[in-house]
Every structure is written in structure tokens, then in C-alpha cells.
């Protein structure tokens, strides 16, 4: 008996929320929005996503599905010359510094990054 790691129970009972965290919803919606804007065909997207999901680090319980989703989107944007990984990494670090520099309770803005020049 090699039962898989997926848990088929709970069907029809209480489903978990569609997205576990807000960033997953944002990453999901960006793909839908960019497709609707005509940046790529849905077949292009499915190809990018399936390539990423075929990597061995995609977990058997699909727990890192939206990490892979975001990877696939970044790859597609890089291929289209719209973004590149270095720029994304630099900006992500800036967002993290901005968050740290933002007083609790205030909105986090990229302008709050102390290293911004």
C-alpha cells in the first residue's frame, strides 16, 4: 500500500481557503491580469507552469504550488524582457528594508526604504 501524500479526505466538507496567504492570491491574479492584457496566451502560461511543476522540488503535497507559480511567472516575464531576476531581487530587498523602516500600523511604502536613492 503506497498511499500518496495527498489527502483526499474532507471532500465536500470544509474546504481550505482558496489561497493560504495574500501573496498567493496576488501572484495568481497577476497571471490572470497579464493574460487578459494579451501578454501571453494561456497555452504559453500552461507550458511555463508545467515546466516548473516538473522540477523535482515540487512537493508531493503540492504545498509549494504558488511558489512554483510565481517562479513560472518570473521566468515568463524574464523571457519576454519585461523583468529580470536581478531587478526583482533588488526590489524585493528594498521592499523588505522599507517594511522594517515603516512604523508599525503605517502603510508599507517602497519610498520608506532607507537605502533608496
Amino acid at each position: 500500500m503506497s498511499l500518496p501524500d495527498f489527502d483526499p479526505r474532507g471532500q465536500g466538507a470544509i474546504d481550505p481557503p482558496t489561497f493560504q496567504e495574500p501573496w498567493q492570491a496576488q501572484a495568481f491574479a497577476m497571471v490572470v491580469a497579464l493574460h487578459e492584457r494579451g501578454l501571453f496566451s494561456w497555452a504559453d502560461w500552461a507550458e511555463a507552469l508545467s515546466t516548473r511543476l516538473a522540477q523535482p522540488d515540487f512537493r508531493h503535497d503540492a504545498g509549494n504550488y504558488y511558489e512554483c507559480w510565481l517562479d513560472a511567472l518570473e521566468t515568463l516575464m524574464t523571457r519576454k524582457g519585461i523583468a529580470d531576476p536581478d531587478h526583482i531581487g533588488t526590489l524585493a530587498a528594498a521592499w523588505q528594508r522599507a517594511a522594517k523602516a515603516t512604523p508599525h500600523g503605517k502603510p508599507i511604502l517602497l519610498e520608506n526604504d532607507p537605502d533608496r536613492n
Binding site: 483526499p8 482558496t18 504558488y66 531587478h87 533588488t90 521592499w95
Partner: protein, 205 residues
């Protein structure tokens, strides 16, 4: 810059949130995404589309022979007539369960799924074990969902693509004559429309 010194009142962005914000910043600056449109899409998929849409399609097919025939011949149009249209330009195909044939849907390559009628897929649908085993051992997979079919029932597995998505029309349960479409729709579970379940018996809903 300071290293980690976590105070629980500090604002911290986890790495994934920061990456998403970074990409969104780039795309917004280039005028490719509009944050308000992003929020609207999230709201749609969190609150507006889900398996209740598909259940209405199934209940109509059970109640209306002409509709069922239309659904068989042109599922995209028959489903759109109830107000459910896909946003990815995909075509729909309805596959009808019978005593002879049970249908099961999978996406072996990624996670293609009929969003307009079922919402976003459950986690197990996206998992590698389901995606591979549904093809290799559909009867074994069904058993894990507590679906045991007669040996004489053939199981047909449909592999979804970006262009073509499948909706399983489960068999109408016994003793449901005279039920309204609304009452029938309550018997239609999400899993029954993937083929990983059966419609509920009346009284079990």
C-alpha cells in the same frame, strides 16, 4: 544594514510577499497591471466562482433533456448560457457518467481545471501523486476517495489542457424524481464533477 533582530512589533515582509511586491511594482510601473484589477480578480476567485456554478449546470442537465443534449454537443455554449464563461478562452467538454462508463478528470502536465464552473482546484488535484496515479491506476485512486465502482464499469480518464477542460456530469441519484433544480444542485459535489466522487443521495446533502 542591521541583521536580523526580530521584534514582534517590527514590520517584516516574508520573502515571498517581497518578491510578489517587487514583481507587481515592476509590472505596475510599466503599466501592465492595475492594482485595482488585481484585487477584483482575487475577489472573483475567492468569492464568486466555485463548484455551485457547475452544480447548476449538472442540475439543469438532469432536469432538461434538451439542455443535456446541448451540453453534450456544445458544452462551451450550453454552460455560457447560464452565465459561466471561461476567461482563458478555453473550450469545455461535458463528459457524462453512465452505468457503463465513469469519467475522471486530471491534468497530467500542470493543473488545468474548469475554473468557470468549479473555481480553483483543490490541493490534491495539483499534487504529483494524483496527476500520475489517476492515469496509471484510476480505480485505486477512486478507492481512496471511497468510490468503488462495479468491475464492469469502465473508467475513462480525461487529461485537461490549456485549451480544453472537462466537466463530469455525474449520474442522477435514485429517488430524486420531482426534485427542483435547486434541490438537485445541492446533491452535486465538487468531487463528483471531477469524477472523484458521486452525486449525493437525497437526504445526505
Amino acid at each position: 544594514m542591521a541583521h536580523h533582530h526580530d521584534h514582534d512589533h517590527d514590520n517584516e515582509l516574508d520573502p515571498m510577499t517581497a518578491r510578489v511586491r517587487a514583481l507587481e511594482t515592476i509590472l505596475t510601473e510599466k503599466g501592465l497591471v492595475d492594482p485595482a484589477a488585481i484585487d477584483a480578480i482575487v475577489d472573483t476567485y475567492e468569492h464568486k466562482v466555485g463548484p455551485r456554478n457547475g452544480a447548476r449546470v449538472v442540475a439543469r442537465a438532469w432536469s432538461d433533456r434538451q439542455y443535456a443534449d446541448w451540453l453534450k454537443q456544445d458544452a462551451t455554449a450550453a454552460i455560457a448560457s447560464l452565465g459561466f464563461t471561461g476567461r482563458q478562452g478555453e473550450h469545455m467538454q461535458a463528459v457524462f457518467n453512465t452505468p457503463e462508463t465513469h469519467n475522471l478528470v486530471v491534468c497530467t502536465l500542470c493543473s488545468c481545471y474548469p475554473w468557470s464552473v468549479l473555481g480553483l482546484p483543490p490541493v490534491w488535484y495539483k499534487s504529483p501523486p494524483y496527476r500520475s496515479r489517476a492515469v496509471i491506476d484510476p480505480r485505486g485512486v477512486l478507492a481512496e476517495f471511497n468510490v468503488v465502482l462495479p468491475q464492469s464499469t469502465r473508467i475513462r480518464v480525461w487529461d485537461s489542457t490549456a485549451e480544453l477542460r472537462y466537466l463530469v456530469i455525474p449520474m442522477r441519484p435514485a429517488n430524486t424524481e420531482g426534485l427542483s433544480e435547486e434541490a438537485l444542485a445541492d446533491l452535486v459535489t465538487r468531487d463528483s464533477m471531477i469524477g472523484a466522487g458521486l452525486a449525493l443521495a437525497p437526504g445526505a446533502a
